[in-house]
Symmetry: C2
């Protein structure tokens, strides 16, 4: 790929981005699209167009995004989103502070080195004109490398400083959010697992109650034994399905009354497979009959579930937040594998089916998943290497000869040449997150946010190992395989990686550009959700609930967003000194990302759970991991360049490990458990324990329950119901 | 060393042992020696000779030891001693169960292998006749190794099984001891460290009180701010010294009245350096004057200390054990380096000067100590290697020619040849424990028992690395150094170790025999303390307190006993399959050790602290470490013997790591903190909080305090003193 190809790629991306932004400005001003562009505001009961988005400047959204404070974000989108913005600004800060020093210093230093002949480029496929600006342009052993060595230190120290500040800030954010006087149900509950078999003549409920009433005689409120809800969920879902269908059918009937005959046309459906075969029946009657059949069935199954399907796990409720917070941190039984206790997750993020998993089952599942993921990471390398070789245009022409006439056209050729490998990579990576989320849930993790963090971690290692290392080494791998076989040690792997780094610089430069222009363009304009919403509204939705479902915005998806951004961090950090020209692109990526996401967080996405910044320790450790990779690679690269002071860089990786260790020691525990000085906060109102308790009952069990006496079997009472509001 | 030399060594040891035991039987029956042989009983107010030690069978002590139950040990000597006996019986069990299978199977298998010529011995200095019974006697690649391979598995599985049982048992012992209804002061207190600077206008005491009163409004009792007691301790010690001297002088004066003139001779002393120079004064008057001078000085200093020398650390007392136990396990402040909280150690085992050390100081001290110990471990190897080469008799004759006439005598020569290297080693190791204890205290550990455990761990690694590996490799090291230099990897170290193992078998056989016969003989007979006591009583002691001090028995010294025994465990395990003849010696060591220590624990030693079995996790992990070393060495040794199924042993080390991991996961946390189901135990009496509080005041601060109003400054009050007995 030559320089013009790179410029074309950049130009096209930029044009696409501008088109998408204009589209966004135009579309978002139409009131009919408000539910697509302002769902978060609408759901919070605010005027979608407040602040003048529609009347004044079409770029008012930029002003709004820039002028919004961190507190606005927390109010509109929660602490987790605010923490994500801390991540974006921290990385942006690192890149800007690095760029400010590196660009004016390093570019002239490499450009003015004339000792290397101009036609001698060390990289295959890197554009010759920009090569001059990279570290590869400098002669081996030159004393000009001192500038690069100092630059490596500068980038590292900037990163340490900003990360330390960010960790402090996030910790304060978490503390401020947790100390706020709102009543939060999960603060009054703990999750108890690994309950031993109840003694003879005692039910599980009695066992749990007596255990906790002995230890906490004053503050114990009630317990809720976890049940196996598989059957009752099935019936409940069936029932809900029929209810929706009934509402839909009734809406059609009402419509037909308005539009056609005044008596209306009663909708019909077939009872067989997928509604295509079987007897034709009147829908409203049929669904009503089904619902009436299912309700008693559900009630019977609810009773059976509560009485007979109790499992060795329970939620225990206390009148006092302090007791709950300190109970979750304390050892209760002599053996760790009995009466395991942890903070109860928010009611909305329970993974109910994981709650009852026993200690050993969890441990075994965890290791099985780890091994499986490790194998996947290692063996995905093979297809990725294959794809990155396959998707060069020359290879594609050979393999798919019918594409030749298209591919031969000059413009298309340039565009394809620029984008094909990156596109292949992006699609390839899009398949993964769900697999990893599924695997993380299979570990037996009890909350959605925790599973998200676990999946995010796996995804990060996956992208770094496979994409970054895979693509970088990819080309030169097979050629170098023999040399690795001869000296199979870590040293030669680093050397190999460092050798192949510069050759892949362009690939990643284009990857970053593509990702931010097109990715953020699509993100901002919401073309796909818009089209889907309008299609659904026109052809499928009949009831208000259905329409609401059609525009439901979903959440920010931080679990997959973070590893995607982390890959960019890794790439930009690793190239920051080798080819400093990548820094502005990286900075632009995070600046644009901040702007677009700010808009989306304020107006579009609704967080589906809140973990109060528990993601941050993971982000921090992964940024440090990227930094470590960068430092090790620099040691290798300086070595290749025969710069004999390369060992001066060795303190840096050690410093990074030390930094990660200190951060973990100092900050991490507060992200695991609630500090008691915060748990003893004042509340703005007396908590209604009954409401708190009921918020944890899964919908399939609470459905159709006006009277709560029915819960007696699995859900215990406190000492006295009347005195329970403490 | 030949076979007769070995027998001589064994015989001499045995004779010494028998003589010492007879001495013990004879001496312990004299009532005048009761304070040396039965101090623990006397201090507990029991009749020293109960159970008929004196009247009947002279070996009644053996019957008593054998018939004593675990509960007797706990009553007389505490849980820590009982746990030590679990250690001894577990190791004994491993050795007996291994020996029962290995001896009848492996000895014939090696003895009947005639394929190797009898004069071909693989070891230098191993006795030829016993060589036949070792694994080295079997021809390389022989299928007879299958028996040895299976034996390796048998020993490992026996160890896993018994260790697992023992861990369960110790955990139950700890639980039973902690749940017993005695009131224990330390269960009502927590140790708070890293208290931030108090806000403007608040004293430290007010700060601590308000902090804990906010979090625990119902259960907070009082706090005691840690003070810098250096000055006050100095004055107090001086005062105590003069008090003792005064009592001594008065006793002399009283004696002189009885024996000499009726008016008596008033003792005198000189006031100068060491009582040798200066003016001669009347002792009683002089000491009285000094005491009267010091008492107001002490009181003034106490006031200053309490008011002005408060440090960033405090003991906080609660009315409820449950609150204390759960507070010690919970995070209190947002940052881990503020308001760090842990269980308060027993009052008698506080290391007061370490209490105020801050988080970072502790961390840094810890790592500095680790690095220092690691360096010591590595570089002690050099003198040890040197000594083990030097102490062969031939070398000694060369170096110290004047010894020649003595050494040439046949008997002396044999004895010296048998003992010299072992004696050198034992003396060498005796210097170490105090250094390691000092280093462990320097880490900033707040309790004596914890420092003991830390020192014990260091000592274990020290002995294993230096004694076992050092002595084993010692001889062959220099010769093999070049081969290691060529292939510097772990593999060749294991191979080297495995090659040199058999050659050192005799050395260790003699070492074990010497240690148990002479060591336990001295231990049982208490010759040294007996002589010291009688000398002191005769020439130095005048007052009752001085006499009591002269026979004070001290404690069991488990911190140094355990690593000593662990070295034997390591040696016997490592040789168990290579030279199974070592197993009976090992078993005898632990059986005799059990018997002798049982006697000492019941009658002699008084534990100086109680940690409720916290030593066990360390013992367990170290036995597993020995097992791991043994398994890795066996893989290496089978490899040397060209037995091609050696890789079949590779699962064993992995299994050991897994075993250690599971043990830690399952049991360890209960040894760190008190389980709440145990902390909510019933007490047999209402705790007197005032007594509990006062028990933590260091003697130098509480001395001469009848009225407690004086503590106001550093020691805070609860809400209301009158209602404090809850």
């Amino acid at each position: 790929m030559d320089f013009s190809s790179f410029l074309t790629s950049l130009g096209t991306s930029c044009v696409i981005f501008v088109v998408l932004v204009l589209l966004f400005v135009w579309l978002s001003r139409k009131p009919g699209n408000a539910v697509v562009y302002y769902p978060n505001r609408i759901l919070k009961g605010m005027d979608p167009f407040e602040g003048g988005s529609i009347t004044r400047n079409p770029f008012a959204w930029i002003r709004e995004a820039l002028s919004s404070t961190e507190q606005d974000i927390i109010n509109m989108s929660g602490v987790d989103s605010a923490v994500h913005f801390v991540f974006l600004t921290t990385v942006l800060g690192i890149l800007v502070l690095s760029g400010v020093v590196l660009l004016p210093v390093l570019l002239p230093v490499s450009a003015t080195d004339n000792s290397v002949q101009t036609n001698h480029t060390i990289s295959n496929g890197t554009f010759n004109d920009l090569d001059k600006l990279a570290m590869g342009h400098i002669k081996e052993g030159s004393s000009r490398f001192w500038a690069f060595l100092l630059a490596t230190y500068w980038v590292s120290f900037v990163a340490y400083y900003l990360l330390w500040k960010a960790y402090n800030h996030v910790s304060d954010l978490r503390a401020a959010a947790l100390i706020s006087p709102e009543v939060r149900a999960e603060n009054f509950a703990i999750l108890v697992r690994d309950i031993p078999h109840p003694p003879e003549g005692q039910t599980r409920k009695e066992q749990v109650d007596s255990y906790f009433r002995t230890i906490y005689p004053d503050t114990f409120y009630r317990s809720m034994v976890v049940t196996d809800n598989k059957e009752v969920n099935k019936i409940w879902e069936e029932l809900e399905g029929y209810k929706k269908k009934l509402a839909h059918a009734e809406a059609i009937y009402a419509d037909s009354k308005k539009n056609g005959k005044p008596e209306g046309i009663r909708p019909t459906n077939k009872t067989g497979c997928l509604g295509l075969t079987g007897k034709k029946v009147d829908s409203i009657e049929y669904y009503n009959k089904k619902i009436n059949e299912l309700i008693p069935k559900l009630e019977a199954e609810q009773k059976v579930t509560l009485r007979e399907k109790q499992q060795g796990s329970a939620l225990v409720f206390f009148n006092s937040q302090l007791t709950a917070a300190s109970a979750a941190q304390s050892l209760h039984a002599q053996m760790v594998d009995k009466w395991t206790i942890m903070d109860a997750p928010e009611p909305r993020q329970h993974i109910w089916t994981n709650l009852h998993k026993t200690f050993y089952e969890r441990q075994i599942r965890q290791y099985v998943v780890y091994v499986f993921v490790a194998l996947t990471i290692i063996f995905y390398m093979i297809p990725i290497t294959f794809i990155s070789a396959l998707t060069t245009l020359v290879n594609l022409e050979k393999l798919l000869p019918f594409l030749k006439p298209v591919v031969s056209m000059a413009t298309i050729k340039t565009v394809l040449e620029a984008y094909l490998p990156q596109l292949a990579l992006i699609i390839f990576l899009a398949i993964l997150p769900n697999l990893l989320l599924f695997l993380s849930k299979a570990e037996g993790i009890p909350s959605v946010s925790h599973a998200g963090r676990a999946a995010s971690g796996k995804y990060f290692y996956f992208t770094v190992f496979n994409v970054f290392i895979g693509v970088t080494i990819g080309g030169s791998l097979i050629a170098s395989l023999k040399s690795i076989e001869k000296h199979p040690n870590l040293n030669s792997v680093v050397t190999l990686l460092a050798t192949s780094l510069p050759a892949s610089a362009t690939f990643f430069l284009t990857y970053v550009a593509l990702k931010f222009f097109v990715g953020y363009g699509l993100e901002l304009s919401r073309i796909v959700p818009l089209i889907i919403y309008h299609l659904k509204r026109k052809y499928l939705c009949k009831t208000e609930a259905e329409r609401k479902e059609a525009w439901a915005p979903g959440d920010l998806g931080l679990a997959t967003r973070v590893p995607g951004d982390m890959l960019i961090v890794t790439i930009v950090l690793c190239y920051s000194v080798i080819a400093p020209i990548i820094i502005p692109f990286g900075a632009l990526y995070f600046a644009l990302g901040w702007l677009v996401l700010r808009n989306q967080a304020l107006k579009v996405y609704v967080p589906s759970y809140e973990s109060y910044g528990r993601m941050w320790p993971h982000i921090n450790v992964r940024i440090v991991a990227s930094l470590l990779l960068y430092q090790v690679l620099m040691v290798g690269y300086f070595g290749i360049k025969k710069f004999y002071y390369a060992p001066l860089l060795i303190p840096l990786p050690i410093l990074s490990l030390f930094f990660a260790f200190v951060c973990r020691k100092k900050f991490y525990r507060f992200f695991q458990s609630t500090a008691l000085e915060i748990a003893c906060r004042e509340l703005k109102e007396t908590p209604n324990m009954e409401v708190i308790f009921r918020s944890f009952i899964p919908p399939s069990l609470s459905a159709g329950k006006a009277d709560e006496e029915e819960f007696e079997d699995a859900l215990s009472h406190g000492v006295s119901r009347s005195s329970s509001f403490v």
